[in-house]
């Protein structure tokens, strides 16, 4: 294992840019001093990326992920610390970075490729391959300003596929582009990783993080909050978010206690979940003290219903925990769900199992590497 990238104690301070401060800043910079006052975007970031050991950056908006990527790509200078890169680096930093709106896709490719070191005959040879991957038809000879954002991403990504850099840096670009192109990119990335490529990825999709990378760094307000295996980091990060949302929800509930319906789900926790099962527990409150029912459902991340049942259908009675408070726990096992992001929903129901009241939901992930389509793994035999 050799380090492709060493980030040592990197800090970045953005100076406050008052109009009047420019002259002073200019004189100070010209005299060879750096500006250390201002907004601290990154503080003491320190990690290494080894060959074949992809790394993800996770964190909330404004945590400093993009700034760090720019520093790693060599576009931005750190205020303190240093970055050492070994081998070729390809960077997909932002939508259409380095593209000029007035030029055609083909003309833009030429300079963009040159900037990444692909020049002359080598470029000419790869041009067809790049254009084929981008798959934007005759738009390639139209000015970029007429492109949709999806087409710009296609062009940028197509260029990277031709470069096959030792280290590929991508910033959230997979979020743009339609599903088929996203899948094309993911497929390409998986092959690139199999062939020994190394990825440095920023993504809000923990699914992608776990799928494509081995290690992850969690940035929180410019600080390195956690560095570890992507699974550990993803779990910690997800828990952090769930807790944050839960406290927001509880706060909202506490405020609106009087506004709640007759029956309400006041808690829902996923105790555990893996590829084939899930265990959850929850709490339902009844203002009239009668024993309510609860409906449990699974939906896809996009809201498509997958499965639903109620305690009334299953003949289960909720446990009386305190006056007006009823608890339940449920295990869902041996499902045939395909990998992906899902939500568990709990609805409060009246004791008759007739009317549905409010809902709580929690996200969960079905892990795995299956490639079948849809969301149910239907048992099958081929002849």
């Amino acid at each position: 294992m050799s380090a492709l990238l060493s980030v040592s104690h990197v800090s970045k301070v953005f100076p406050r840019t008052h109009r009047s401060a420019g002259l002073r800043a200019f004189v100070r910079l010209a005299l060879g001093r750096t500006n250390t006052e201002g907004f601290s975007a990154l503080a003491d970031i320190d990690f290494e990326v080894n060959k074949g050991e992809s790394l993800a950056l996770v964190g909330e908006n404004g945590a400093g992920k993009s700034t760090l990527l720019k520093i790693i790509a060599g576009v931005l200078q750190p205020t303190q610390g240093s970055v050492v890169r070994v081998g070729t680096v390809g960077a997909l930093l932002e939508l259409g970075a380095g593209f000029h709106a007035e030029y055609t896709g083909r003309e833009n490719l030429k300079l963009a490729a040159a900037l990444q070191g692909l020049i002359g005959r080598a470029f000419e040879e790869k041009l067809d391959e790049i254009i084929a991957f981008a798959d934007i038809g005759e738009h390639i000879d139209q000015p970029i300003k007429t492109y949709s954002s999806g087409m710009i991403v296609r062009l940028g990504f197509a260029l990277v596929t031709a470069m096959k850099p030792d280290l590929l840096i991508t910033d959230e670009v997979l979020a743009v582009g339609d599903e088929s192109f996203q899948n094309k990119c993911i497929t390409w990335m998986e092959r690139y990783l199999d062939q020994g490529g190394t990825l440095l990825l920023v993504s809000h999709s923990l699914y992608h993080v776990k799928k494509l990378t081995q290690r992850a760094v969690w940035l929180d307000h410019g600080k390195q909050r956690m560095l570890g295996s992507s699974n550990d980091v993803a779990i910690a990060y997800q828990t952090f978010h769930e807790e944050k949302q839960a406290t927001q929800k509880v706060a909202a509930l506490a405020l609106d206690e009087t506004m709640l319906g007759q029956y309400a789900v006041t808690a829902l926790h996923i105790d555990s979940s893996d590829a084939t099962s899930l265990r959850a527990n929850g709490e339902v409150k009844a203002r009239d003290g009668r024993r309510p029912h609860v409906a449990i459902g699974i939906v896809r991340a996009d809201g498509t219903p997958v499965f639903g049942t109620t305690s009334e259908i299953d003949g289960f009675t909720l446990r009386h925990a305190a006056p007006g408070v009823f608890k339940f726990a449920i295990s869902l096992t041996d499902w045939r769900l395909l990998p992906g992001s899902y939500r568990l929903k709990a609805h409060a129901m009246d004791p008759e199992g007739m009317r549905v009241y409010d809902t709580l939901e929690r996200e969960f992930m079905v892990p795995g590497t299956k490639r079948e389509l849809g969301f149910v793994d239907v048992p099958r035999t081929w002849d």
Binding site: F14, P15, T17, R19, G22, L23, A25, F26, L29, A30, L31, G32, T34, N35, K70, A73, G74, V75, L76, Q77, A91, L93, E94, A97, G98, H100, E102, Y103, E107, K110, L111, A112, A114, L115, G117, I119, G120
Partner: protein
């Protein structure tokens, strides 16, 4: 070494295209605009004000004007365009690893190449129309051009980073360059300035470059050839100082773009 870097060639090519982008007539404007400027100056100074050229410059005011004006236009255009160049290419330099010094370098290189060719064409045209002008000076004036190029480069490097931090720079440049246009013997011959004011004109270092152009194309060398060397050294010094400041400030311009 850097001049033959293929990436630089690609970037330079882009810069060339940028000049002619947008309008169908852009290439025409590049020729027409200075020609119009030349005609306006010729009309005002030669016809209306009846400025007399000392005999040694020959009889064509147009030739006198063109020879001094074009290198100066190259310089002013380089500096004005150079000042805004980092801002104009902000999207490129903040998102790619393009060496930043290339941005003003390409701007200045393109301006000087275009104006050098333009003057060569005009000189040949004048010759065809029978004006007494030394065509070989197109070649022998190269060191003078190069000295001006180096000076323009240094100033462009300096003002490009300065302008990112201090946005007034570009506005201040216009009147300053306008003043210097009149403090150089471009529209008039140095000889028609009263003795006691000549010092002001010679305080402008460009006077020496313009005079050298006049000598090479029209009067024959009067000042010794080492003036070229002195001009080159001066230009190199300006280029070095400009680059020195650029190198220090440029890595930090992202914070202000």
């Amino acid at each position: 070494m850097k001049l033959i870097n293929p990436l630089f060639v690609a970037f330079l090519e882009r810069e060339f295209k940028n000049r002619f982008l947008g309008g169908v007539l852009s290439p025409v404007w590049w020729v027409v605009q200075p020609l119009l400027q030349l005609s306006v100056y010729a009309l005002v100074f030669s016809v209306f004000l009846k400025i007399q050229l000392p005999e040694k410059y020959g009889t064509s005011y147009l030739a006198f004007l063109a020879v001094g004006l074009w290198p100066w236009l190259a310089f002013t255009e380089s500096v004005t365009r150079g000042a805004g160049s980092l801002l104009a290419q902000g999207a490129l330099i903040t998102k790619t690893q393009l060496p930043r010094a290339w941005v003003p370098l390409a701007t200045v290189t393109v301006s000087f190449s275009l104006h050098f060719v333009a003057l060569a064409v005009i000189v040949l045209m004048l010759k065809v129309f029978g004006v007494a002008i030394n065509g070989w000076a197109i070649v022998t004036s190269v060191p003078t051009w190069f000295a001006l190029y180096l000076a323009a480069l240094g100033v462009a490097w300096f003002v490009s980073v300065a302008h990112v931090l201090i946005r007034d720079v570009e506005s201040m440049l216009a009147p300053l360059l306008f003043l210097m246009t009149f403090l150089a013997p471009i529209q008039y011959a140095i000889e028609i300035i009263p003795e006691k004011f000549r010092g002001y004109v010679y305080a402008n270092p460009f006077t020496f470059a313009i005079e050298r152009m006049h000598q090479l194309f029209l009067t024959g060398p009067v000042t010794p050839a080492w003036i070229d060397l002195a001009l080159l050294l001066g230009g190199a010094l300006v280029a070095f100082l400009g680059y020195f400041v650029f190198k220090r400030v440029a890595p930090h311009v992202d914070d202000y773009l």
